[in-house]
C-alpha cells in the first residue's frame, strides 16, 4: 500500500481535489484528511461545527486537530483519535461509522453521526480520508 503526500503548497492529488470540489458544493459538514494525516480542508458547513472558517485556521496537523474539534463518546467520556471513524479509516484503510459528540470553539456539544472512508487511487494508493458529519441535535451549553 502506498500513500500520496500532499501537505502545504505541494500540488494535491486529483482524488483530493475532486473531493474538495464536492465538499465545497454541499451543505453537509465534510473534513478532508490527506495521506499524511493532515486535515487539508473542511467546508463551510464544517466551519459551523468548528466555529471558525478554514481560511482562518488553514491546514491542521493530525495531532492538533483534537484541540480544534473535541470528539467524545455520547456519555461524555473521551474518545481516542484512533477510534474515531477518521482514525479507523486512516489506520485500517476501511470505512467506519459512529455516533459521537463534537465540541467546537463555541463550546456547544453536538451529537453527530460520523462516517469516514478512505480514498484509494487507481493503483490502490491512499490519497486521504473523507470524514462526513451529520448533526443530530444540539445538546446544550458549553463545556
Amino acid at each position: 500500500m502506498t500513500t500520496v503526500a500532499s501537505t502545504g503548497s505541494a500540488p494535491k492529488s486529483l482524488p483530493l481535489i475532486l473531493a474538495r470540489e464536492l465538499a465545497s458544493n454541499l451543505a453537509t459538514p465534510i473534513f478532508l484528511i490527506d495521506a499524511t494525516g493532515t486535515l487539508v480542508f473542511y467546508n463551510d458547513a464544517a466551519a459551523l461545527l468548528i466555529g471558525k472558517p478554514f481560511a482562518e485556521l488553514g491546514e491542521i496537523p493530525a495531532l492538533e486537530f483534537g484541540a480544534v474539534l473535541e470528539m467524545s463518546e455520547p456519555d461524555g467520556s473521551p474518545v481516542r483519535r484512533r477510534d474515531t471513524p477518521a482514525g479507523i479509516a486512516f489506520s485500517h484503510r476501511r470505512p467506519a461509522h459512529r455516533t459521537l459528540v463534537a465540541t467546537g470553539y463555541d463550546g456547544v456539544r453536538r451529537v453527530v453521526e460520523v462516517t469516514a472512508f478512505p480514498l484509494f487511487g487507481a493503483a490502490e494508493e491512499l490519497h486521504g480520508v473523507v470524514n462526513v458529519f451529520w448533526e443530530q441535535a444540539a445538546t446544550g451549553g458549553g463545556v
Binding site: 502545504g8 503548497s9 505541494a10 500540488p11 486529483l14 470540489e21 464536492l22 465545497s24 487507481a122 490502490e124
Partner: protein
Amino acid sequence: MRARVGGCRGSLAAPGADTVRYGGNTSCVEVRLDSEHTLVLDAGTGMRSLGVAMQSESAHELHVFLTHLHLDHLQGLGFFRPLFRAGTDVHLWGPASPVQSLADRIAIYLSPPLFPVRLGDIPARLTFHDAPEEAVTIGSATVRAAKVTHQGPTVGYRIEEGGTTLAYLPDHEPSLGVELSEEPSAWISGHGVADEADVLFHDAQYRDDEYLHHVGWGHSCIDHVIAFARKARVRTLVLFHHDPYHTDEQLEELLTDARRRWPGAEEQVCLAQEGMTIELDCDGVRRSPTPG
C-alpha cells in the same frame, strides 16, 4: 527539445476546407529530445503523418505517452508505421486503471471488429507502462504525469530537459466546481504539470458561451484556460484540442479573445496548428510558423 504538432483537433477528426489552416487531425505531438530520443504525445489521427515521416529513420526506441484512451487520442495508433517495423521497441504509457491493464484497454480498439489487426499481431516489441507519477528519465529528459480532471482516467504530462519545460494537458477541465482565479494553486487540477512551464499545450475547446452547455464534459473554455495559464505563470500558451465544429475563422476569433484577456502577454498565446514546430532551449522558445 523540439515539438511538432501532428494533430490538434479535439473529439473528432475534422478535415475540410473550413479547417485546412489549423488542421483536422486529432491530438498528436512529436517531441524530439536533445539526446535524439523521440516521444510522442497521444495517438490521435495526427499520428499517421508522424509515422510516415519516421519511416526513413533508424530509431529503434519510441515512447508514446497517452493522456487517456478516448478514440481521438488513440485512433492513429493502428496507422503508426513504426509499429509495423519488427525490431522497434515501442513503449506505451497511459493512465492506470484498477480494472484492466493498459494493454487490455488498448486491445479493445486494436482488435476486430473495430480494427482488423490485433494488438498481439503488431510486429514491433510493445511494452506497456502506467503513466509515471514519479519522474522517469528518457534520454536527456524527465517525464512526469499527474491525473487531471476529465471524463475517465486521464493524465497530463510534464517534460523537462536542460532547464526547459513542456507541459501537455490536451483534455482538461480544471474549472469544474471552482473559481480558478480564487483557488490556491495546490488545489487546481493540473497545476503541478503546468507550473512555470515554458510551453503549455492546453485544452481550449469552447468559447465561454459554448461552455455553459458543456459543463462537466471535461474541456475548457477560453476564460478558464487563460486563468489556468496565468495562475501557472506559463511563458507560452498553445491553445489546443480545437472543437471539431470550429472553422479556421472561428479559431482566430477565439485567439483574439484569448489575447484580449491576457494583456501584456498577447504574443505568448497562439493557436496550435498542424505542422507547427516549437523549439525550446536555453535561448528561449521559437515557434514556426508564427501563427496569426
